[in-house]
Structures are given as C-alpha cells and as structure tokens.
Subunit: 341 residues, 2 copies
DNA sequence: GAACGATGTCGAATCGATTCGGCGAATCGG
DNA sequence: CCGATTCGCCGAATCGATTCGACATCGTTC
C-alpha cells in the first residue's frame, strides 16, 4: 500500500501519482481521476515518515508541559486544550513532552531528533535551560510565558504584574489597607517562576504607591494547602482584610479557612485573583478575578509558531494579555470602611 | 549533521556508525570511542523520520482524547498524565489527538498515516466508530474504557457497575431508602457512553435487590449544572436522603445546593461517588468515594499497548478496576434511621 | 511548414537512517 | 604451517515519499 503500488495499478509512474495528489504539476483530468479511484479503493495514505524525510518537515509541533506528576492547573489545562485545538485546525499534530526531572530525555528527543517543526513551551522560568537549549538548537519555538530576557524569543504571556497591581488598587479603592499576596508553591517561585516574581513585583509596587501594608506568602497548588496557608496567615496577621492571588488551585481552600474562622466573603474579607474564567465562575462564591483568555492565548501561540516555522528569520513577536478584572462576588468594602466607598 | 558526516569525520563508513550506536554488530572499542567522540562534539542525533522509515516503527503512541472543547474531568486528566508519564519512561513519545466533531481529520491522520505504532483510546462509547476503524486498520490499540463487545480489544476500565452497586449497598446499609443516581451529561449518556449505562445498570440492580426506591438523572459536567440539577431533584423528590454519582465535576455544585436547602452533609443527606482520589480528598467535605487508580490504569494501558505492538497476535487482555470505597465525610446514617445501623 | 511554447508524463536522484552480504586480516586448532 | 573461524569494517540496497530534468505530443504562430 505505498505510492508505487498505486502507480502500478493506475498504470502511471510514481511521480505522476505524487503530482496528482499535491497538484504541484499539472496532471490531466483523466489520469487524475483514475489515480484517485485507485487510491480510494485501496485506502492509501502517504507514509508520514517518508514524507517527513524528503520534505524536511513533520507537520507536527511539540508541546512541552510541566512534569505530569504535578497536576495541571485549570489555566494550564486551558492552554493545552486551546493549543491542541488550534493545531488540529491547522492540520498539525501535537507531540506532548513532559519536561523537568526525569523526563528530560523526552524533551531532548523532541528538540534534537527533528521530530517536530517547532515547539510551544509552557511554565517557563526566568532563567530557563530549555529556552537556552532551544535557542541554541535553532528550532522555532514560542513560549507561553517568558524568561528574564524576553526579547530573544516569541511569546504570549499573562501580564501578572499589571493584573496584580490592578487587584491591589481595586482592593485599596474599597478601603482595604492590610493585604496579602498568595503566590504559587514555594519551589516553583524559588526556581524562578516568572509569574510568581512578576506578581511579587506588581504587588510591592502597588502597595508602595498606595501606602498600604502587605505580606507575601507562597502556597501549595491545591485546596488543602490553600486552607492551611490561610489559617496560618490569619493567625499571624489578624489585621488582614483582603488577599490578592495568582494561585487558582488554592482558592477553594482559602474559602474554607475563612468560613471556619467565621469570616464571610466579601463581608469580612475580600479576595481578588487571576484565574481561568471557567474556574472563577464555577467557584462558590464566584471569584472576582482577571479572566485570563487561555483559549485565545493558546491559539495565538500556535499562530506565532506557524509564522516562525514558515520564516524563522522574522522578528520575534509578543503578546501580553492583561484583561480587566471581572467583578464577581468576592470583593467588597473593607470592614469598618464602608464610608470610604 | 547526519550519519554520513559523522562517518566521514570519524574515518569510518556510515554502517559502522550505525552499528556503534545500536550495538547490533560488534565494533572495536577504539573505533566506537572515536565515533562517540565525534558525535558528542557535533551533538548529532539520528533523524527520527529516516529511522522510522527504515525501521517501520515510530517509537510514538497516539493518545486519543475527547474533543478539547469540553473540559477534561480530573479523572481523565489523571489518565492523560499517567499515560504520558508511563510512555516517557518507556522512551515513547505521545501524539495527542482530539477526536469527535470537527477533529476527525486528526484522528484519521493518526490511524492511517503510520504516524504512531499504536493508540490509546479514551472516552469510548458502547458502539464506537473509532474502535471499528482501529480494528479495521489493524493498528494496535488499547482502550481506557470498552465497547459493548469487549472481547474484541484490549482495555483497562473502571467497573462502574460494581462500584455504583457498592455505593448503593453502602447507603442502604446506613438506612437510606430513597436514592438518586446522578449520571454524566445527557448527550454523553445518550450517545452510548459506557460508564453511564453501566452505572445505571448497577444502580437498578442494587435498588431492586435491596427493595429501595431510586431515580436517575443526567447532569452537566460542572459545578453549576450540579447545583441546579440537585435543586430540581430535591424539589421533585423531597423524600431523597442520599445520592450516588459518577459525575465528579458536579459534586461541589451539589454540596452548594444542599447547603442552600439547609441540609447538612452527612447529617441530613449522604453522597457517595466514583472519583479520582486527589479530587475526592480535596473536596470539602471530602467525598466518600471509590478511588479510581487513574495513575496505575494509565500505566497499565501503556504496558498492554507495548505488548500488543511487540506481538499483535497475542490474546487481548483486560483489566477491570473496582477499588473499595474510601469512607470519608459524606455518608452517614439516614435521618430517622439511626437505630438501623 | 518550421520553430516554439504548453502540457502531461516518466525515470532517476534524493532525504537519512538500517541492514545484509562479503571481504581482508587476525586468530585458532591440529 | 595451513585451512577454518572469528572479528571488524565496508559498500550497496532499502524504506516511501518528493522533485528535477528530460522528452514526447500537441497546438500556435509567423
């Protein structure tokens, strides 16, 4: 069931079959019809490996995800889904590659074995070996996230700094004076996870601008960690009245801790965050949050990658998403400051 | 940077380089050392397409997931993660393919273009075109889930029927007489989604065995749907005291509906389900549930697939997981039946 | 009617690996 | 000391597509 077989049965040469399929040279209607009939009858499809070998491209992109061991957050899942979706629309296949820890063989295979035409990289650190590796290899790639030197690459990213700044201003406008920032897990932030650092920077800046008091903590990426984290926070800083966070997975645990401490949301305590819309809406109460457009970002990342593959010499392009905050149910006037509205 | 270049610089023939790398024929230590040094220096890795073409295998498996549009449940995410993980350990790459709806081109490419050595199929229907397609194509595959004719294929699955039966018996033992089964979304069940149908069957059987009263409803796969579904259920069947469910994504919404109806869990109302452990534990209160071992199942699916690829003629193998129920916080004696314990 | 440009097709080279048959040289046994 | 093995390596064929140059046929044009 290869192209030679088709050619034989249609009584033409292999090249003619190829041209009939790709249309890169004219083939008479009659011949084309006969070839297609044979192909249809035998259910022939060109061998992907042979085509990739000759053409020098695989029609496949790599998607590098955080190690599978750690659960994907809802936002990350949104990125994956939208990348897969957009790739499918462009008739590209997606090769999944966990990276980090024991999985570096997989990443190395993807980068180095010419298995993919380009790569989309998730969960990028400020200093990231993988980015360096990709830059050195010359393989086109696009980041969802960026390093400390963002000019070197194409990326789409969430402007965590601006978003957290907005959250703080929003809370300050409501009269809150004592705020906390709940970050992602400590290992991630310590490893130079960009959003974590940028959220810190934005928080610090906004706190300073408004003359507020702020504390920062890291918190594991799940509900139980969120609960114990907030318990501790409330115990050590009873003066707090509001939280800003980028840790969507921990929010439901924070709700729990507040409820157990007898604090109502948003009556006694406010929370504003950055999260996938789907997630924010499905929480109870729905989270006041910047709705990260994960779907669009994934699609844009694929677009950028396709452009880079087509012409690796084009200028790098960047997309920084900073959607406005959707006021849902978790922020309100600071207790005792109702007149301040 | 191909094998010829390496051969030239090492002063040997291309075949010798190949044998030095694969070890399929002896090569002298001295020569091997020289070759490896050159390879190391130039950072050479064999071209995957060329190798796949010659060897007739791609060292890649396909993972067919539900269309990306609909969110993956936590359990599905667990399957994906464990499959990717197990594949990486076996030095296999994973090609992701959404199927259903507009994505059938992607599925078709995977099946037909010899892009993968085998396929793992998720979210299987009782009658499933994709299974028929794979059987016809001769491509090795393993299902996570099974059709109405399970003998035709290898699979791993969750024994929803047994698990729901256990849930019902557990609730009946606690004195509950009026139960409901909350199934997955209506379209999925109508399309012949096996777990949905098997859960119904198990529910019916157990209800009959114990002489109970039962109702069944379908419910969208998210918290909001769970909330409105349970609201309606409570309104139409005020006599209900317990629920069994396979719809993990809807559970938190059910909690909400119960709380708003003034019912405590498990004091006034009990819930038992089938869910990913991680999810069940992180709910508040933690769900009494059969903990589906998603990690192990994904790994086993990969194992079975590797065996099938190695020898497509082996007998089909099946693995039906029916873990015991982990008693957490959401089931208790039926109200007014405390003596019945 | 000769020169010319399309048009349609073919044969052969090519992509980068693996693998088989064979060929010297070294080693061994008798 | 000679024939038989073994060892180490090479050259060529092969996998299944794409693509380039060449060629035959046909219709135009001057």
């Amino acid at each position: 069931m290869n192209i030679g077989e088709i050619a034989k049965r249609a009584g033409v040469s292999r090249s003619t079959v190829s041209y009939a399929l790709t249309g890169r040279r004219p083939v008479s209607e009659e011949t084309k019809r006969r070839i297609l009939a044979v192909i249809d009858e035998l259910g022939y499809r060109p061998n992907a490996a042979a085509r990739a070998l000759k053409e020098g491209r695989t029609r496949t992109i790599g998607l590098v995800i955080p190690p599978a061991g750690q659960r994907l957050t809802d936002m990350q899942l949104g990125f994956v889904a939208s990348v897969v979706d957009a790739a499918a629309r462009a008739d590209l296949d997606v090769l999944l590659s966990p990276s980090g820890g024991e999985h570096d063989r997989s990443f190395e295979r993807v980068v180095t074995g010419r298995r993919v035409d380009g790569v989309i990289l998730m969960e990028i650190r400020l200093e990231d070996d993988r980015v360096a590796r990709l830059l050195a290899s010359g393989l086109p790639f696009v980041g969802i996230g960026r390093t400390r030197h963002p000019e070197d690459m194409s990326w789409v990213d969430v402007d965590y700094e601006a978003l957290i700044t907005k959250c703080v201003h929003h809370l300050a406008d409501l009269g809150h004076r004592q705020l906390a920032l709940v970050n992602r897990n400590a290992e991630l932030v310590a490893a130079g996870y960009g959003p974590g650092h940028r959220a810190q920077a934005g928080f610090d800046r906004a706190i300073a601008e408004r003359g507020l008091h702020g504390v920062q903590v890291c918190c594991g990426d799940d509900a139980q960690a969120g609960q114990s984290c907030l318990q501790q926070l409330l115990a050590e800083h009873p003066e707090l009245t509001a939280i800003a966070t980028i840790n969507e997975a921990a929010v439901s645990g924070m709700y729990r801790a507040l409820a157990e401490a007898g604090l109502t949301v948003p009556g006694d305590f406010s929370i504003a965050g950055v999260a996938a819309r789907h997630w924010a809406e499905n929480l109870h109460p729905p989270l006041t949050a910047a709705d990260v457009p994960a779907d669009e970002m994934g699609a844009r990342a694929v677009e950028l990658l396709i452009q880079r593959i087509a012409d690796p010499a084009t200028a790098h392009r960047h997309l920084l998403a900073a959607p406005p905050i959707s006021l849902r149910s978790t922020t309100g006037p600071a207790p005792g400051h109702r007149r301040a509205i």
